[in-house]
């Protein structure tokens, strides 16, 4: 794992809000092609860490490396152009545009035609076919012509991933993709994550531990803004420190139950 350049490396990353250290000196690596999850109790700093990695929030100190390049000073759109693309915890879509157009917006940027003021989008055969292929991968092809605002919650979560995937990311950041999903939706979403192209590295911040342990091959645990542990799912599950972080006690009976409601 140490031989190859990590797809994503976070080094001494900190973000302070006044005296609050939301993220404090966090360092870890994500191997290429990995399905890497970040978990932690509420207030652990997961969301802040996510925003720092995506570039939505500037870091107080520390650095973010993408395939060996320092991207700490790049803006969010600059990182996206380099292949570090995020999804949003609360579906963030183009609601008056159709599902297909949502994907097309990502595709046309990748193809460099987003500023072209001539030629109808709907006549660009190659783009449309690619858009439909992305929708099909996320089981949304039958909803392609529907406005994103008319989709169900679960479908919006799928479209959320479709839009990110259409940019052809090398590292895909998923921000609590299962938030607000029914168990059935979460189960289906698990299949989607497992079905993502293997060359795409996935960093997943997630509350739903069933989903995390169902898809992740590496898990990073955070607590109170600090990095607690990075390891295989089995190591994390067996760790006393992790159980203490979640429960503050030895009792582990509630660990994998109803994490979301907290």
């Amino acid at each position: 794992m140490t031989s190859a350049t990590p797809a994503l490396r976070v080094e001494g990353l900190s973000r302070h809000f006044g005296s609050l250290k939301a993220v404090d000196e966090v360092s870890f690596e994500v191997a290429p092609g990995s399905r890497h999850a970040v978990i932690g109790p509420n207030g652990a700093g997961k969301s802040t860490l996510f925003a720092l990695v995506a570039g939505a929030l500037p870091a107080t100190s520390g650095s973010v490396w993408l395939h060996g390049d320092d991207v700490t000073l790049l803006t969010e759109h600059g990182r996206a152009r380099r292949g570090l693309v995020r999804t949003f915890q609360h579906s963030s879509l183009f609601l008056t545009a159709t599902a297909r157009e949502n994907v097309l917006l990502a595709l046309q940027r990748r193809h460099g035609v987003q500023a072209r003021p001539w030629g109808a989008v709907r006549r660009r055969r190659a783009l449309l076919e690619e858009a439909d292929a992305v929708l099909e991968r996320l089981f949304l092809h039958h909803r392609a012509g529907q406005a994103a605002g008319a989709l169900s919650h679960g479908e919006r979560r799928q479209l959320e991933v479709a839009v990110a995937l259409a940019t052809s990311p090398s590292v895909l950041l998923l921000d609590e993709p299962a938030a607000g999903m029914s168990p059935a939706d979460t189960q289906a979403f698990r299949e989607i994550v497992l079905g993502l192209p293997s060359k795409v590295t996935v960093l997943l911040v997630e509350h739903d531990l069933d989903l995390v342990f169902g898809v992740a091959d590496r898990v990073t645990v955070m607590q109170l803004g600090r990095h607690l542990l990075t390891g295989d799912p089995d190591e994390v599950r067996a760790s006393d420190a992790v159980q203490k972080a979640y429960l503050g006690a030895e009792d582990t009976s509630e660990l994998f139950v109803d994490e979301e409601g907290a």
Partner: protein, 345 residues
């Protein structure tokens, strides 16, 4: 979840689309009807139609920013003014050729928008609205004070009749001026329609819907906001040049706050985001002001206020805002939706 239910849903919509016959026929019919105006009405009405068409181009410019890109503006009169004065100055000092005036006026509007745009797009929503309002006011007072260029509050008169086709006489006949304006307005409409269907048009709608997401998929969104501002500035200036050619007089009053406000009113009445709606809204506003206003002896502002209130209450989405609100206004015995609603499940 759809992953399991896809078997029950209809097949995906076909990617290939036929040529839009209906739209083309509709546009053709409307243009034909507009072409008949000089044969049907008297000089005063034709002149009102001319003003309405110029105003429609300005309304399209406002709508491009407000309705399509989601940046509500009150400053487009400034670029309208830049175009009007540029067109007038070119006509007076250099050439009475229409095409030349239009091109140079549009370029002047583009340059003006490029210079002032970076300031305006620093804000969004109400902040943007306020900055554009300030730009509009600056344009208005500049026009009144730059005596040597604009003629100050006296305005610029003595604009020679515009020559539409090189080698022919200048247009003085009210009907011919109307045709000149109609042709340019239709070309502008088609250009805007093409822009809206293009990748850039989709980008602008994305900017309106969700700028944050656009950034997250790699767009430098400020660049596209500025681009929208520049396109809209050029379009407003084109309208200004038409104004100079058709009125043959330009004064600071032509780019006052009222002009921007009325253009925004036209967009709201017509239906925010819809270009034909904006054009129709411009027609309604100009005729309310110039025609009904005269019938009711100078109460045009009152009528416009009434129009605005009626539009917001009865047609909140504007004339082009969809059939449902019209159906609510004029209920038929049983609409299709009612049928669906009462079907027992």
């Amino acid at each position: 979840m759809s992953a399991t239910s896809s078997g029950m849903t209809p097949a995906p919509a076909p990617v290939r689309r036929p040529f839009p016959v209906r739209t083309t026929v509709l546009v053709g019919v409307v243009v034909l009807l507009l072409a008949l105006v000089p044969w049907t009405f008297g000089a005063f009405t034709v002149a009102t139609f001319t003003r309405a068409l110029v105003f429609a181009v300005l309304a399209m410019s406002v709508n491009l920013l407000t309705g399509v890109a989601g940046m509500p503006t009150l400053g487009q009169a400034a670029y309208f003014g830049v175009g009007a004065y540029t067109g007038a100055l070119v006509a007076i000092h250099w050439s009475d050729l229409g095409v030349l005036q239009l091109v140079l006026a549009t370029l002047a509007g583009v340059v003006a928008a490029l210079v002032t745009g970076p300031l305006a797009i620093r804000g969004r929503g109400v902040a943007f609205l306020m900055i554009t309002l300030a730009i509009g006011e600056i344009g208005f007072s500049a026009a009144g004070r730059l005596d040597s260029v604009t003629g100050g509050t006296d305005g610029l008169s003595g604009i020679p009749p515009v020559v539409a086709v090189p080698g022919t006489e200048g247009l003085v006949n009210e009907g011919l001026i109307y045709y000149y304006v109609l042709v340019v307005a239709v070309v502008a409409y088609l250009a805007v329609a093409m822009l809206l269907r293009s990748p850039f048009g989709l980008t602008l709608r994305g900017l309106r819907d969700n700028e944050g997401r656009l950034r997250a998929v790699g767009y430098r969104t400020d660049s596209y906001a500025l681009a929208a501002y520049v396109y809209a500035g050029g379009l407003a200036a084109l309208a200004g040049s038409l104004w100079a050619s058709s009125q043959r007089f330009v004064a600071p009053g032509d780019l006052g706050f009222e002009v921007s406000a009325l253009a925004l009113l036209a967009v709201i009445v017509g239906g925010v985001g819809s270009m034909w709606g904006a054009c129709l809204g411009a027609l309604v506003v100009v005729f309310t002001q110039d025609y009904l206003g005269q019938l009711f002896s100078g109460h045009a502002p009152l009528l416009l206020g009434l129009l605005f209130v009626l539009a917001v209450y009865l047609l909140p989405k504007g004339i082009a805002g969809g059939r449902s609100q019209w159906r609510r206004l004029f209920p038929r015995e049983r609409s299709q939706e009612d049928d669906e609603a009462v079907t027992p499940v």
